[in-house]
């Protein structure tokens, strides 16, 4: 999220799209309600008339998987009707920047410029700006980048500072504004309605209501969830929402932003911590063979020429110093070579790919830490069969999940499966302490209340026992590249016992020379601004800098920023700056420079995040997310007058409409889902040209002729994910005892199905039996002139659990995904149904 939950109350218009936030993020409804009480308008766009939709002012149905068409039409509407926020767009975005002369998009082919058919990839050099001038970093003594020459800093050639060509009038046909305008001019109301299955009057009502937030003083927020992201073009779904928000000047303001309601309690933390193939903690990139085979190459390929990411070498060297401790020196590139390098086919190691690797016999051992992929990942039956090829599997969890017991699934024969499976019992959330990050980037501390039941242990203790044993084996026996293991710093102990608090010190960052983990005497850094690239500071994850920085009480989380519990609310915007800590730097609303105009005057005097008073940024209700002052050698600060660099995490410090960041599109473009009921009428390609894993034999594409019903999946309030946690709670089974497939009255009549009947749902990948829930909440849609039926299934069940069992709905979902995030396409696929 760019904002946070309490901030929803500041919105003038709320658009829920690809989320059922009232049911699945119930606490969000409290803050949406506050906005409604203050007069806000609430729009819900969803295939189903959800309980969220039932509370909204405007409900607009949509065919699953057509969000880019819907938002593309909105962009066209906003531009045509001149409803965009001119000053914001002209000053803070790249609308005025002029693109490479070769940049183009051709609807006749469906490709952007640079497509290489032999490589099946884009050569993206035309997705960059024309360069007006280039200059060098000032690394001389006293220069802004003098640190590059400091002793201990790894050698690298700093990037060339590029200044793009611009046209402030935005008339140049090759400027971003004109290219974007042209791109979305094809997204007419009529065409959007035909593709999305919408009604024109409702669509215009939605566009009109949401575009009203283009007025400078208005704020609109978009709440989204997996309904947006779980598509073969899911990353572009999120990008196009960003485009809309930038056009309307809604990013960086209170009550605005792009707010992902994430689905797991600490998925934000897991993403921060880079439990992902390509990432390094703190949104850096894990070393890979192509661009960063050594530390010099990492620094040269990753460091931006401008903006805050000019500091990346400081974050990386500090992280390596944390990883390898005294073994990390400038002479050995701070241990960089010991880390694994992601090979060229890195995407094959994301979740769906790992099951292909098991199927092929390449992957032999697997850990599942509180995750249940044989129920939660697509094409689950294939995944179960693939897992039978594993030599060993380790599951750490609270209950015997379906993943732990895949070998005795109803469709498996245990005697034939040679996998050795270990189950490690894990502690509950209140049986251990530690940090958790919510979707609004708030880092909060959980306090251990009781000892775990039986022999269960916290995951940190399990990890420590295992690591200790592995190190012992390598010390005794040696092994290939044993130094990669033996040089790792692993000293997170208090009184000889593994403890999360020393890990928190490592997150926050500390001065190496004046800290001693062993005696808990720590010189914790006030903030990440103090990190150095010379090996004198250690920090596991730079974005957490300042969250645990009280060196006087390193063992007391309640005395740290993460443990704060005060209710101060400057500006009465629900910022709560003294409650816990929000990364980065306790900023509650990121990009908050954009909450004020080019002169630093807030767009809305009632929603002041920061304000320039003519001599300084005197009002700072939120921590400024921009360079608002510079430090002088004598300890004083010089205020920095307002400038246009509102997005300083980008090298050009301006938000991007056209971007080279994604693999598959420079501007989001509509493609159809892998399994679609219709033809793409926006361009000549049916699917995204880079859709992942569609060619794997297990994907078994279904044809509309054979499977004429569009299916999607969703959750209910009372159960969660694979149900492993919630089906163990009798109260929840009592409220929601079994799974169902929801369908329209029209489809039910056509198929001779009555409410409550058992039905069979099937496609090429599998078959499940569920009870029918026949409602008016799903309606057939008219798509490109044809009537399309839709069904929805909840996915919280499997064969395990003493209280409640059911079928694995994800046996039906396709294991294909997005080429950027590798997220699977759970939310739009094809099935058929019949009465059992």
């Amino acid at each position: 999220m760019t904002g946070h939950y309490c901030d929803f109350k500041n919105a003038d218009v709320i658009l829920t799209s690809g989320s059922n936030n009232l049911e699945n993020h119930p606490v969000s409804s409290k803050w949406v309600q506050r906005a409604l009480d203050a007069g806000a308008t609430w729009i819900v766009v969803d295939p189903r008339f959800t309980r969220t939709a039932s509370q909204a002012d405007i409900y607009c149905p949509i065919r699953p998987g057509t969000d880019i068409a819907f938002y593309g039409g909105m962009i066209n509407y906003i531009i045509e009707k001149d409803l965009w926020q001119h000053e914001y767009v002209e000053h803070y975005t790249n609308a005025t920047f002029i693109m490479d002369e070769g940049y183009s998009f051709d609807p006749e082919t469906g490709f952007f410029s640079g497509w290489d058919e032999s490589k099946k990839a884009y050569d993206k050099h035309t997705w960059h700006y024309q360069v007006e001038s280039e200059s060098e970093w000032d690394t001389s003594e006293g220069g802004s980048f003098a640190w590059v020459k400091d002793p201990g800093v790894p050698e690298f050639t700093p990037p060339k500072v590029q200044v793009a060509r611009k046209d402030p009038t935005m008339q140049d046909p090759q400027c971003v504004w004109q290219l974007m305008k042209k791109h979305y001019s094809r997204y007419t109301i009529e065409k959007v309605c035909e593709t999305c299955g919408m009604d024109e009057d409702t669509l215009i009502q939605v566009y009109e209501a949401y575009a009203s937030t283009g007025a400078p003083e208005k704020a609109g927020t978009i709440l989204y969830a997996l309904g947006q992201t779980q598509h073969t073009y899911g990353t572009n779904n999120t990008r196009i929402m960003t485009l809309v928000q930038l056009l309307l000047g809604n990013v960086g303001v209170a009550g605005g932003g792009l707010n992902a309601l994430r689905g797991e309690p600490n998925v934000q933390g897991a993403t921060d911590m880079a439990m992902l193939v390509f990432d390094f903690p703190g949104y850096l990139r894990w070393p890979n063979v192509s661009e960063s085979p050594n530390l010099r190459a990492w620094c040269e390929s990753q460091t931006y020429y401008g903006g805050f990411y000019t500091n990346k070498p400081k974050f990386m060297v500090s992280a390596l110093k944390e990883w390898f401790g005294e073994h990390a020196t400038v002479e050995n590139d701070y241990g960089y070579d010991w880390l694994p390098k992601i090979p060229k086919n890195g995407g094959d190691y994301t979740t769906m790919g790992t099951f292909h690797l098991m199927d092929a016999g390449t992957m032999k051992g697997y850990f599942a830490w509180g995750q249940n992929p044989v129920v939660s990942d697509p094409n689950s039956a294939f995944n179960r069969r693939a897992m039978a090829n594993l030599e060993w599997l380790v599951v750490a969890d609270w209950v015997e999940t379906a993943t732990a017991s895949f070998w005795r699934a109803p469709d498996m024969k245990p005697e034939d499966i040679q996998t050795e499976v270990y189950f490690l019992p894990a502690a509950l959330i209140y049986e251990k302490s530690g940090t958790i990050a919510n979707s609004g980037r708030w880092l909060q501390w959980r306090y251990k209340a009781v000892e775990p039941v039986g022999e269960a242990k916290p995951d940190y203790e399990i990890a420590d026992m295992l690591w200790t044993k592995i190190v012992e084996l390598y010390k005794a026996e040696g092994g290939p590249s044993a130094e990669s293991i033996l040089n790792v710093k692993w000293d997170y102990y208090v009184d000889g016992k593994i403890d999360p608090r020393p890990v928190a010190w490592a997150f926050n960052g500390y001065k190496v020379a004046s800290s001693d983990m062993k005696s808990a005497k720590m010189d914790l850094l006030p903030a990440f601004a103090q990190l150095k690239a010379d090996g004198s500071t250690a920090c596991a994850i730079w974005i957490y800098g300042g969250y645990y920085n009280n060196s006087d009480a390193p063992l007391d989380p309640a005395a740290q920023p993460v443990g704060r519990r005060e209710h101060d609310d400057p500006g009465e915007l629900g910022l709560y700056p003294k409650w816990a800590f929000s990364w980065p730097a306790n900023r509650r609303i990121i990009y908050n420079r954009a909450s004020a105009d080019a002169n630093g005057k807030p767009w809305n005097p009632k929603r002041v995040l920061v304000e320039w008073n003519g001599t300084e940024w005197a009002t700072r209700n939120d921590v400024p997310d921009f360079v608002f002052q510079t430090a002088n050698a004598d300890g004083t600060n010089t205020p920095v007058a307002p400038n246009d660099n509102a997005f300083f995490m980008k090298p050009e410090q301006h938000a991007n409409f056209i971007s080279y960041g994604l693999a598959d599109a420079a501007l989001p473009e509509h493609y159809e889902p892998f399994e679609s009921p219709t033809k793409n009428t926006f361009n000549a390609l049916q699917n995204s040209p880079l859709m992942k894993f569609a060619d794997h034999p297990s994907a078994k594409k279904g044809d509309f002729g054979e499977f004429p019903i569009v299916a999607t999946t969703y959750s209910i309030t009372e159960h969660w994910q694979t149900g492993a946690q919630t089906r163990m709670c009798p109260a929840l089974n009592e409220i929601a005892p079994r799974q169902f497939i929801e369908m329209s009255m029209e489809l039910a009549e056509e198929k001779g199905i009555k409410n409550g009947d058992e039905v069979i749902v099937w496609n090429n990948r599998g078959e499940v039996r569920l009870n029918a829930l026949v409602t008016a909440r799903f309606r057939p849609l008219t798509v490109n002139g044809e009537t399309i039926h839709q069904v929805g299934m909840i996915h919280h069940w499997d064969w395990t659990n003493m209280f409640s069992t059911g079928e694995v709905v994800n046996d039906l979902t396709p294991n294909v995904g997005d080429p950027n995030s590798f997220i699977p396409e759970f939310k739009a696929f094809l099935v058929d149904v019949k009465k059992a």
Partner: protein, 200 residues
């Protein structure tokens, strides 16, 4: 430091005073206030704040403990996001640990939970319970053998140090410190295949 009521309770770790007899059976149904023998059910408990384990709202909860056992879990009224509220799932967090046995009406540890390390041997039809030592030794041996047999140290002249043969999935349920320790262990072993619930 301006301590809130909850902060004060936590900071002083309100001492447990007494061994009052009480019945847990009523506790799983009534979460906020309950009368037992005329006493407030949360009398003489220690309170610990926690954060919910379901969606990413980050709602605060209070776990009340007496005699080393959880008595109650409820929303934290001082928490600015949820202001004391919890959804049905959050409100049932007590049952992750303890439930009422319908046969005896006694509060018991949730029988669905597994609290002993187990192994299922190749071809076996059942689990066998084992000690932590056996579990950790068994897993560590498997990890080392697989890593040593599959580690690629150099590829096209580049030091790569990775194994394609081991994967690690999950993390969104753990605390951040645990995520980091798991990550650090797995990457140090040479894993490329690291992923979590971010996509499901």
């Amino acid at each position: 430091m301006n301590l809130t009521r909850r902060g004060f309770f936590k900071a002083t770790a309100l001492a447990f005073a007494g061994s009052m007899a009480y019945e847990l059976s009523a506790q799983s149904q009534a979460f906020a206030v309950d009368l037992h023998n005329g006493e407030w059910k949360l009398v003489n408990t220690e309170e610990y704040t926690n954060i919910c384990c379901y969606c990413s709202g980050g709602c605060g909860s209070i776990v009340s403990v007496r005699d080393g056992e959880v008595i109650n879990v409820e929303g934290d009224p001082d928490h600015p996001i949820n202001e004391g509220c919890l959804c049905p799932k959050g409100a049932a967090m007590f049952q992750l640990r303890n439930i009422v046995d319908p046969a005896t009406n006694e509060v018991v540890h949730n029988p669905e939970r597994r609290t002993t390390p187990m192994v299922r041997r190749p071809g076996a039809t059942e689990w066998e319970e084992i000690s932590w030592e056996e579990a950790i030794e068994g897993v560590a041996r498997r990890v080392k053998d697989t890593r040593d047999a599959t580690l690629i140290e150099k590829e096209n002249g580049i030091t790569v140090n990775y194994t394609p043969a081991i994967g690690s999935l999950g993390g969104s349920q753990q605390n951040s410190e645990e995520e980091y320790l798991i990550l650090k262990m797995m990457r140090s072993l040479g894993l490329v295949a690291i992923d979590n619930q971010a996509r499901v």
